[in-house]
């Protein structure tokens, strides 16, 4: 596998986008970013990322809604998703699973941990 895996990161917080893109790019992944769900939908359909990392609480379209929308589009149905959330308790786990969310990470998060999870997820997909 020479072509680097593509990862789409979606978050309304500029700093989170910056940190994660830096970390993942340095690890050898190709990264594209979006600041809200709508933008992310469009990019996903064009770029066909291998993985989606998204914030849960975003204006206009929440992370969960984004995943649900992607599931309905054939081209993007199988993209695994990793959700970052500051919410703590009130997460609808069954809905998340149904929408293809593999993992949930709580904020504040560790970029190291995100990288590890990304590696694990993408290796699992390959296998």
């Amino acid at each position: 596998m020479n072509e680097p895996k593509k990862i789409l990161i979606v978050d309304d917080e500029v700093h989170i986008l910056h940190v994660l893109s830096l970390k993942l790019r340095h690890a050898g992944y190709a990264v594209c970013t979006a600041q809200d769900g709508r933008e992310a939908l469009e990019i996903a359909q064009v770029e066909h990322p291998d993985l989606l990392i998204t914030d849960y609480q975003m204006p206009l379209l929440s992370g969960l809604e984004l995943c649900q929308r992607l599931r309905r589009i054939p081209a993007t149905r199988d993209i695994p998703a990793l959700v970052l959330t500051a919410r703590g308790f009130t997460i609808d786990e069954p809905a998340m699973e149904a929408a293809g969310v593999r993992l949930c990470l709580h904020k504040p998060f560790s970029p190291r941990e995100v990288l590890q999870l990304v590696n694990t997820l993408l290796q699992a997909v390959e296998a």
């Binding site: 917080e13 940190v19 970390k23 340095h26 998060f109 560790s110 970029p111």
Partner: protein, 485 residues
């Protein structure tokens, strides 16, 4: 008894006279004086008849006078509606009868007096009871909470104004009617029935009620209490209803507040931790690298600090723990400092931060930290609610005898319905709470600071979709210039 005596006397006299005359006449007839005897006989006869008539008349006259006296006195009593004693001469023939009558009349009079007294007592009692009843009713009717009373047949006995207004019925039409006529709320009817059947002393429930389809739902706390008599049989149910909508809303606002505080605090914290970790892992190889990371960490730290200060200050100010430390200061300088502090946030959204100042210092007597906080909250909001690539304007000027600070944005604006409420603690416009994080205390704090601690005014003008302008005005302090900052 005088009459009897007279009769007997008269009779005796007549008998004696008659006997004597009969004797004389017989004697004369025996002596042969028949003519003289006959003449004497007729004379005596005439005399005796005359005497009898006279006697009869006398007796009748006397009797009749007594009787008339009695009758007149009785008529007098009747005419004056009184009971008195009949007066009669003690030697009168009817004196005994009158005495008996008088005795009877005295008894009657006594009875009558007793009855009248009793009647007065009862009247007084009735009036007192009526007054107490009216007072109790007035109390119940006047209670601002809705109060209803039903009897053991679930009929409506009492309902005050508040209850009639809340459920939209008139007591006149529903009195002693099945309570369903007045209350069209199935849950409440079920509760009344349950309270009655189970003889509940105290049953408390929370109900949602919408007085009409257009109204907002009300949260009602309903207290039911079953009233029992001495034999523990149900007399009825008393229902008291408190409108707790406002309290519930406050609870909801506080819950929202806690969620947003949590989110607001975690966001800068996440950045700080993330960048610190990146530094530790040497991810800062690219330019601008290390320097940029450290600046971001510091700036997010300051942002976190401002947020915490905002939250803490709300309680501090309200609890009276804080005394403003007022000094002469130049508001332009404060505005500059705020603009510098929030510049990075503006840059994140590519907003142009325009600072308008006058060349003259704008001096006020104020607590510097508080002013910084107030202006910072206003500017922070302007940035937060602006669209990217827009403009935010911060202006300080002296107008007449006031120092005026204006913060203007071209962002999402505030709906007219919310304009009155945005300065309330915890209040956030519902639509925007999804759009941007916030705790709902910033503007409340601004108003506290400006109006309660600095005798100033804060005002807002806004057009949804076009932007908002917040203006705060403080009295100017004339006099020498403050020391340069």
């Amino acid at each position: 008894m005088v009459l009897a005596r007279r009769l007997i006397l008269a009779l005796a006299v007549l008998t004696a006279l008659g006997g004597s005359v009969a004797y004389f006449i017989t004697a004369m007839r025996l002596r042969g004086a028949y003519e003289q005897a006959t003449n004497l006989g007729w004379l005596v006869f005439a005399l005796m008849t005359g005497l009898s008539v006279l006697l009869a008349v006398l007796i009748w006259h006397s009797l009749s006078r007594s009787l008339r006296s009695i009758r007149d006195q009785l008529c007098h009593f009747a005419a004056h509606d009184e009971i008195g004693l009949i007066m009669i001469d003690e030697h009168d023939d009817l004196a005994d009868l009158v005495a008996g009558l008088n005795h009877y009349l005295t008894r009657l009079k006594q009875n009558l007096q007793d009855h009248r007294l009793r009647q007065k007592e009862l009247e007084v009692q009735a009036r007192v009871a009526e007054t107490e009843l009216r007072q109790t009713q007035a109390v119940i009717l006047g209670i601002s909470e809705a109060v209803l009373v039903t009897n053991r047949f679930d009929e409506l006995l009492l309902a005050n104004q508040a209850a009639q207004h809340l459920f939209g019925f008139r007591l006149e039409t529903c009195y002693r009617q099945p309570v369903e006529l007045a209350l069209c709320v199935p849950e409440l009817l079920a509760l009344i029935r349950a309270a009655r059947q189970n003889k509940c002393q105290r049953l408390v429930r929370l109900l949602e009620h919408r007085p009409s389809p257009d109204d907002k739902p009300l949260s009602l706390k309903v207290l039911l209490s079953c009233v029992l008599d001495e034999q523990r049989d149900v007399l009825g149910v008393v229902v008291v209803i408190h409108d707790v909508t406002a309290e519930q809303e406050l609870v909801r606002l506080k819950d929202d507040f806690l969620s947003s505080v949590s989110h607001e605090l975690k966001t800068p914290l996440a950045s700080i931790q993330a960048y610190a970790e990146m530094l530790a892992d040497d991810e800062d190889r690219d330019e601008p690298g290390r320097r940029q990371f450290c600046e971001i960490i510091q700036e997010q730290g300051r942002r976190l600090h401002r947020l915490i200060e905002n939250i803490l200050n709300v309680s501090r100010l309200e609890s009276g723990m804080v005394r403003p430390h007022k000094e002469r200061l130049d508001l332009s300088e404060v505005a500059r400092a705020v603009a510098d502090a929030l510049q990075p946030q503006a840059r994140e959204k590519n907003l142009h931060l325009q600072l308008d100042q006058s060349d003259q210092p704008v001096t006020v007597l104020a607590d510097r930290d508080m002013m910084f906080q107030a202006v910072s909250n206003l500017l922070g909001n302007a940035i937060k609610y602006s669209h990217p690539d827009g403009r935010v304007r911060l202006a300080v000027a002296a107008r007449q005898d006031h120092a005026v600070v204006e913060v203007q944005d071209e962002g999402i604006g505030i709906p007219a319905a919310s304009l009155d409420r945005i300065f309330e603690k915890f209040y956030r416009v519902h639509q925007t709470s999804r759009l941007a994080g916030g705790t709902g205390v910033g503007l409340h704090l601004v108003r506290q600071i400006v109006e309660n601690f600095h005798q100033g005014r804060v005002r807002v003008e806004s057009q949804p979709g076009r932007g908002s302008t917040f203006t705060l005005a403080l009295p100017l302090t004339p006099g020498p210039q403050p020391a340069p900052a």
